[in-house]
């Protein structure tokens, strides 16, 4: 798997889009053949769609699976005795959680790639870390939630992890005061889920009329905007709130799916989400036809990381728009995009239906 190995060894933003695409398409072909050869269910899907993985295809022509398929069925490309961990998503109410089968190699690759992507934005030094969550979230090792996986995945970037909240999701002032006394005047890393950061940190501080000195903090947050969109809080309002309660000005949102853990898209200094060399994004209309840059549609994510399960090409349930290619003011090459939030349920059903009949 030459192209696949070559790409996975690169720095996240080492290639322009023109240099990346031929390599990426070849690597994706290798990965698709791997899953065809190691997952009977996946081979059947390709078969039904009449897709020949042995000939070259453009990225957008490789069949995508709806991400929710992993909620309905456990798909794996690895033998039972090689399974290292089965990751489950937190499962929105009324839905079964996704089950993602990881072997040791895929789990290790996820950590390595995540490290490289995030390092490009925050550097290699590990800063004292303030986690906007409760300590109980990561305690249950057997019921490993996507939230715990996120906290643990990002813990690599921090030192002396301190939880800003207690297990009732209220500000833990003992912890906060201790953390601020020890590290408040220097650079620190903050991590949390978007909604928790807003409700349990920004709004909680606003209600109390407290302001913290976190001028040198860099905050990484992710997990979706759905609940904030309901409150009409957008990226700009979110950032304004953080600046007000803590002087926090370096804020990076990240986007990604638990079905493609490790393969994340980071928001740059200019506010755009960036596609690294390890992944790709395609935007599709209601008929699932690829859309040009600048048009809003359903987000399809492609990642070269999933090897133990056939989750390398997935249609998400989110809507997004590609902003540009190789032209971000921050200087990083590749595609940039923005996410608008979840698509309406009717459209999602439409997608799955359409997919089955394609």
């Amino acid at each position: 798997m030459a192209e696949l190995q070559d790409l996975l060894a690169l720095a996240p933003f080492a290639l322009s889009e023109a240099d990346k695409q031929p390599l990426f398409a070849a690597a994706l072909g290798q990965l698709t053949r791997h899953h065809r050869d190691h997952c009977a269910d996946y081979a059947r899907i390709l078969d039904v769609l009449g897709f020949d993985a042995d000939v070259p295809h453009a990225v957008e022509d490789v069949p995508f699976l709806p991400a929710r398929l992993f909620k309905l069925r456990r798909l794996q490309s690895v033998a039972e005795d090689q399974i290292h961990k089965v990751l489950t998503s937190s499962g929105t109410s009324g839905q079964a959680p996704s089950r993602i089968v990881l072997d040791a190699a895929t789990a290790s690759l996820q950590s390595k790639i995540l490290t490289r992507i995030v390092g490009d934005f925050i550097g290699k030094a590990r800063l004292p870390m303030l986690i906007v969550d409760g300590p109980g979230t990561v305690k249950n090792r057997n019921a490993f939630s996507a939230r715990a996986a996120g906290i643990l995945g990002f813990s690599i970037f921090g030192r002396n992890p301190t939880y800003a909240l207690n297990d009732d999701m209220e500000l833990d002032w003992d912890n906060l005061d201790r953390f601020l006394a020890a590290h408040g005047d220097g650079p620190v890393l903050m991590f949390g889920f978007t909604f928790m950061v807003w409700q349990c940190f920004v709004q909680a501080l606003q209600k109390m009329g407290r302001r913290l000195n976190l001028d040198q903090a860099v905050l990484i947050h992710g997990g979706g905007w759905k609940k904030l969109a309901d409150q009409a809080v957008d990226d700009a309002a979110f950032k304004a709130g953080l600046a007000q309660v803590g002087g926090i000005s370096r804020v990076h949102n990240y986007y990604g799916m638990v079905e493609q853990t490790g393969s994340i898209f980071m928001q740059c200094e200019a506010g755009n989400l960036h596609c690294p060399v390890f992944s790709d994004i395609v935007i599709r209309d209601a008929h699932l036809t690829p859309l040009p840059d600048g048009q809003r549609g359903l987000v399809q994510l492609v990642s070269l990381l999933p090897k133990s399960y056939p989750g390398h090409v997935l249609l998400s349930e989110d809507e997004g728009t590609i902003i540009g290619t190789d032209d971000c003011p921050c200087g990083r090459p590749g595609k940039t995009f923005t996410i608008h939030g979840r698509a309406a349920m009717a459209e999602i059903r439409g997608c799955s239906d359409t997919y089955g009949g394609k």
Binding site: A104, T115, A125, R126, V138, I156, F157, R159
Partner: protein, 80 residues
């Protein structure tokens, strides 16, 4: 045994409740339930405290087993 090696071993023994024989067999990440991703960050914290060092993220990801870890801490001037 040097004092540093004793400290290095103790970080594993105290974090994972293992005995010395397990270390001599080159204990590896994920080979025991205790050394999972949570245990890993606990071990990193214990080693950083013991030697007063701050490892880079790449080294934390590469720290795959007892012997590999010796090479990694050596990069931070720890003589075992």
């Amino acid at each position: 045994m040097s004092e540093s090696l004793q400290k290095y071993d103790n970080a594993f023994i105290e974090t994972f409740s293992v005995d010395k024989a397990a270390l001599e067999a080159d204990l590896a990440y994920n080979s025991i339930a205790e050394w999972d991703s949570i245990g890993h960050m606990n071990l990193m914290g214990a080693l950083e405290d013991a030697f007063d060092i701050a490892m880079e993220t790449d080294d934390i990801v590469e720290f795959s087993c007892y012997s590999k870890g010796k090479e990694i801490v050596a990069k931070y001037g720890v003589v075992l």
